[in-house]
């Protein structure tokens, strides 16, 4: 019985199948290596050198850290696929774009009103983080359906601020 993980490092995809006794990547057997995971540090001995890496998670973002370098990482396991199907079933079918806070911050000004038509890249609001004002622009053409924040509100990363339709 194999566990399946689909891994994407940058633009490159790898399908990993692993069981107690075997590891296959993209259908090929991978020679055994010494592999140790202590806390979240992974260390692999390649014989002539060793490599350490960490998988870093921040919200939904995943990064591979190795040799002081970061690689964009996507991991999808059987378990992730099950969870995704479960959550899609509960979310409902809203089709409009949402504008989420890309960072935690303070809403300084709201430049739109409910019902207003906006074009892609129109300024929607100003979000202040670390005392810098950052203009948040519309990701798409649409009509402002709902504004979920007020000026002077403080928002968390990822929270929905404006809904378009």
């Amino acid at each position: 019985m194999f566990d399946r993980s689909n891994i994407k490092i940058g633009k490159h995809e790898y399908e990993v199948l692993h069981s107690e006794s075997q590891l296959k990547v993209n259908g090929k057997d991978v020679p055994e290596k010494d592999f140790v995971l202590i806390k979240r540090m992974a260390r692999i001995n390649l014989g002539d050198r060793y490599k350490s890496f960490v998988v870093n998670r921040n919200g939904d973002d995943l990064w591979l850290l190795m040799n002081g370098r970061e690689y964009p990482l996507v991991i999808e396991t059987d378990r992730d696929r099950l969870l995704k199907v479960a959550s899609q079933n509960t979310e409902g079918g809203s089709s409009g774009a949402t504008i989420r806070a890309a960072m935690p911050g303070l809403v300084v000004r709201i430049a739109v009103k409910v019902g207003q038509t906006v074009k892609r890249s129109d300024p929607v609001l100003i979000l202040e983080a670390m005392k810098m004002e950052n203009e948040v622009r519309s990701p798409a053409d649409g009509v402002v359906k709902e504004i979920k924040v007020n000026e002077r509100d403080s928002v968390d990363k990822g929270s929905v601020m404006v809904v378009l339709e």
Binding site: G10, F35, M41, G47, F53
Partner: protein, 504 residues
């Protein structure tokens, strides 16, 4: 001086406390609710809660801080950098309360604190300055008039500013009014003062600053320069001492100019004159920072001096223990500011818990931090995790050492700029020394995006190891070793296998 209240937080509070401890001085830490478990609190001899979470309710509340000093019997206040460090009113209030202010006289902070007043003073002292309006502009029309005369682009700057806040580059007339409004709002919110003035924007300059030190007896010296041109969003991320672009003659000239500037405002204690250096070797006074700088460690490493100790000695009324001819620069130091930020998402702060933090160590490294594993990067403060500083006998050695250090560095839980800084340090733009304040945004950031998005194909064993590591993440097993059956030899030696077996 037997007891110092440190009116700050994070790495600088920890750093100041360390020197105090070496000098046998008791330390008092103050903290906001958010910071109650911070390193600067845990390591202080005595602590006072200021309450609140925003800076205004805590580290900027002058009355609370002076009251804390009184109640704990502190006889001096060290302001660190940021917060109240360049607030002349506070410096004056501290001294009126009978406490020693570890910083320059309030009068010098006032003169240098207003960028417009400082410019006027420097013009009178024959220090070269960038062309600009003599004072703050009261409306967009005034700014437009200057810009038309001097030519676009122009730079809007908060008179009370620093750290890139309240600053905007404007390239054409149409954008000026909106940019002025934004700069004024930012300035008001960051400094409580919306005065903004206009300068000619110099294209592709270097940002070079000179560390000066003056005592209360009229002695002033310079401690060489720092190269601070590697900036993003007008904030420094990599600093060096000395600068590859500064010859001994230029160093002397800039140093003497900086000392002149200090004397012109009746300066005492640590200060920094910031200059823009253009491609012809001409330099212009930008501003004077009347406090200890974030990047002071690179100067400490190449001069062998402890700047906080000097600050305390000068505040005690002692003469500077060294003269200009005693200042000898040795070797090279590079500092990387490790930030919790999303580099490719526009260098935006990344908040969260440092779930894993394995900093580098070893020969020639110093790291100043206010964090530990498990610390929280909150939205309330600057997201700097630490300052990592590498020292070497020359520039090449210092950079190689920093690259080694960054390759050992592992942080998880927040996104960091470690990968980006390592990329910058490896590039010819940096290694050649031939870069300016715009190099990151013009060249290195787009190149980094390309580098990250188009990384090469990785070996199969790495994908396999990631899958295994990820499985452990879910099942929360902290140790896993695969069977030792050697399918294809040449990958490991018997000795290494045996050593790893012992772990099992």
């Amino acid at each position: 001086m037997k007891s110092v209240l440190i009116a700050n937080r994070g790495e600088i509070a920890v750093r100041v406390a360390r020197t105090c401890r070496e000098m046998g001085i008791r330390t008092v830490a103050v903290y906001s609710d958010v910071d109650k478990n911070s390193l600067h609190v845990l390591e202080a001899d005595q602590t006072v809660a200021l309450g609140g979470s925003t800076p205004a309710e805590s580290y900027l509340d002058q009355a609370k801080i002076i009251d804390a000093a009184k109640r704990t019997g502190a006889d001096a206040i060290h302001p660190g950098y940021g917060f109240l460090s360049e607030n002349a009113g506070f410096a004056e209030r501290v001294e009126k309360s009978g406490l020693i202010w570890i910083g320059p006289p309030a009068s010098a902070i006032t003169k240098m604190g207003s960028k417009t007043e400082a410019r006027a003073l420097m013009i009178d002292a024959k220090v070269p300055v960038v062309p600009g309006t003599r004072g703050a502009v009261s409306n967009a029309q005034e700014a437009i008039e200057f810009a038309k005369k001097a030519g676009f682009p122009v730079l809007l700057k908060a008179a009370a500013g620093g750290g890139g806040k309240g600053m905007r580059v404007v390239r054409n007339e149409a954008d000026l009014e909106a940019a002025l409004g934004a700069a004024q709002r930012e300035a008001k919110s960051a400094f409580g003062d919306d005065a903004v003035y206009v300068e000619k924007y110099l294209e592709e300059p270097k940002h070079i600053e000179v560390q000066i030190f003056a005592d209360k007896h009229g002695n002033a010296i310079y401690l060489g320069e720092r190269e601070c041109s590697m900036q993003r969003r007008h904030q420094k991320i990599i600093e060096e001492a000395p600068s590859a672009a500064v010859s001994p003659e230029l160093r002397k000239s800039m140093g003497e100019t900086a000392v002149m500037a200090a004397k012109a405002c009746g300066y005492a204690n640590a200060g920094t004159c910031e200059f823009l250096l253009d491609k012809t070797g001409a330099y212009y006074f930008l501003e004077m920072n009347t406090r200890l700088q974030v990047e002071h460690p690179v100067t400490e490493l190449v001069t062998g001096l402890d700047l906080v100790r000097l600050q305390i000695e000068v505040a005690r009324g002692n003469k500077l223990p060294i003269k200009q001819e005693d200042v000898k620069l040795r070797g090279h130091a590079v500092e990387v500011r490790v930030y919790a930020e999303d580099v490719l998402g526009g260098f935006l702060p990344s908040t969260g818990k440092l779930s894993l933090w394995r900093p580098p160590s070893g020969p020639g490294l110093r790291e100043d931090t206010g964090m530990y594993e498990g610390s929280e990067i909150s939205r309330f403060y600057d997201p700097m995790i630490s300052k990592l500083i590498a020292f070497g006998e020359n520039r090449e050695a210092a950079i190689d050492r920093m690259l080694r250090a960054l390759s050992e560095y592992f942080i998880a839980g927040v996104m960091t700029n470690i990968g980006f800084c390592k990329f910058v340090l490896e590039r010819d733009e940096f290694r050649s020394g031939n870069f300016d304040t715009g190099t990151i945004e013009r060249i290195l950031l787009p190149a980094y995006r390309e580098y990250v998005e188009n990384c090469e194909v990785q070996p199969d064993w790495l994908a396999a190891a990631i899958a295994l590591a990820n499985r452990q993440y879910y099942t929360d097993v902290t140790f896993f070793k695969r069977s030792m059956a050697d399918v294809q030899s040449g990958w490991k030696t018997a000795g290494r296998a045996a050593a790893l077996n012992n772990h099992g």
